[in-house]
């Protein structure tokens, strides 16, 4: 093990991890927004939008991210749309993640008892107030484990972006291996970097999940 090597190139990893984290975080937030919109279109049975959402979800979930990225990189410029590498990565991640988040949220919404919505209505809440104060908080609580899994999945998927020349973690590792043949060190640092990103996230979601379950959200603890 070449510790000088590790020391020398660790800053590159930190920088790349920053990029992975930034793209991942933006992608996750946008995915959630897209997911909420799709989910609401389906929940309220908005004509047209609802069909578009359903088609999009199927498309996004049933094509590999790499294919989606190639489309973004090589397909879109052909029709005159040119995105920066980072914008491409975020767009691709959001396209993929939005569909997964929509599904996670839908399962959360479906788990909310119909009587809950009716109770809100009986209090004279408008549809939006009912959604905001009664339905969504419970749906989100139920969906948190799936949302967490999606978030981690999306951060890992950023590695695919190295395929399109973005200096993220995977790209740096591949680069170093190519230049110096220090495979062990480069991969070790890659693993550590991903762990450093994902482990805290994973732990945070587990804690959140446990707290929500303890609070008796959703349908699990209701009743007695």
């Amino acid at each position: 093990m070449d510790f000088d090597f590790i020391q020398r190139f660790a800053p590159m990893y930190v920088k790349a991890a920053g990029l992975t984290l930034r793209i991942g975080a933006i992608g996750i937030l946008l995915s959630l927004a897209v997911g909420v919109l799709c989910c609401l279109a389906r929940y309220f049975r908005v004509p047209v939008l609802r069909q578009i959402a359903a088609a999009y979800i199927e498309l996004a979930r049933n094509t590999p991210l790499l294919v989606q990225l190639f489309f973004l990189y090589f397909g879109l410029p052909k029709v005159g749309v040119k995105l920066s590498a980072e914008a491409c990565a975020i767009t691709g991640l959001t396209f993929l993640g939005g569909a997964y988040m929509a599904e996670a949220l839908r399962s959360g919404l479906e788990a909310v008892d119909k009587a809950q919505a009716e109770s809100g209505m009986c209090l004279g809440l408008t549809t939006l107030q009912n959604l905001r104060f009664v339905i969504l908080p419970q749906a989100l609580a139920t969906a948190i484990p799936a949302i967490g899994a999606n978030a981690i999945f999306l951060i890992k998927e950023t590695s695919v972006f190295s395929a399109v020349a973005l200096a993220d973690l995977m790209y740096v590792a591949k680069d170093l291996i190519g230049m110096y043949y220090k495979t062990d060190e480069a991969l070790l640092m890659l693993t550590v970097a991903y762990l450093a990103l994902l482990l805290p996230l994973s732990i945070a979601f587990s804690l959140l999940e446990r707290r929500l379950r303890y609070a008796g959200f959703g349908n699990s603890v209701q009743g007695q």
């Binding site: 009587a115 209505m121 009986c122 809440l125 104060f133």
Partner: protein, 254 residues
């Protein structure tokens, strides 16, 4: 007591997938009146209540609240701000504490100042014996406590009319009393209530009128003394007999 009806139901009809549940239901209710609706399971009692606050859309007839039609395309949100409802399953919001449950409607729907609503909620909780549970979560309450909170939650909206759908049906027997006492209190205060219940003794005590619903229409509409002790129809007699146990008492064997 005002003579103008607060609620009028005229020839109400409601079908589900082609099968008639309510065929022709008509009755009127004055302010301050307590009407108990009884009838065999599945006769459409819940459906009737749900039509009155727009949770179900009637297929025919009309419903008037304070003289204004509330069926069809009326503003149901406005209607529901005037008509409170409590269900059999205690449907408190599990992610909010008791105070959160109580203040949501008045603060969000009625735009009342939170401090004022909270003060009122505290008084109301004390009245139903739950002064110390304001910050408990629903899952920390017993069924009877939950239903008392649900009643307070509905009352804090100051409804013109309160609909109660078998609110003690899911409770253990020892908790039924504490919930019914609250309803009796409301009746004494002059609250207009339309109550579905299987507690016949309670019905007799609280009702000004009893409506017997069967086969999709109102078979009897009478004061409790007459309905319970001298019903006019055979159907009502049979229904009432189903609550008696004398007929099946066996002579002791030795």
């Amino acid at each position: 007591m005002n003579d103008k009806p607060i609620l009028e139901v005229r020839h109400l009809r409601k079908h589900f997938d082609g099968t008639g549940v309510l065929e022709d239901v008509s009755f009127a209710m004055r302010e301050g009146e307590v009407i108990v609706v009884v009838g065999p399971s599945g006769c459409g009692k819940s459906t009737l209540l749900r039509c009155i606050n727009g949770l179900e859309r009637p297929d025919g007839g009309e419903i008037l609240l304070d003289g204004a039609r509330i069926d069809g395309a009326a503003d149901l949100v406005k209607v529901r701000r005037q008509v409170g409802m409590v269900f059999q399953s205690y449907d408190l919001f599990p992610h909010m504490d008791v105070m959160g449950n109580l203040t949501l409607g008045p603060v969000q729907a009625l735009k009342q100042p939170r401090a004022q609503v909270e003060a009122e909620a505290e008084k109301a909780l004390a009245r139903v014996g739950l002064a110390d549970r304001a910050h408990a979560l629903p899952r920390q309450l017993s069924g009877g406590q939950k239903q008392r909170v649900a009643l307070v939650r509905a009352m804090l909206m100051h409804p013109r009319l309160l609909l109660l759908d078998e609110i003690t049906a899911a409770l253990d027997p020892e908790m039924v009393r504490e919930v019914l006492n609250v309803v009796l209190d409301l009746a004494r205060d002059g609250m207009t209530m339309l109550i579905v219940t299987h507690e016949m003794r309670f019905a007799e005590a609280v009702a000004d009128r009893v409506i017997f619903l069967e086969g999709g229409s109102v078979l009897e509409d009478a004061p409790p003394a007459r309905f319970f002790h001298a019903p006019e129809t055979d159907r009502a007699r049979q229904f009432l007999a189903s609550f008696e146990f004398d007929a099946v008492r066996q002579p002791p064997k030795d």
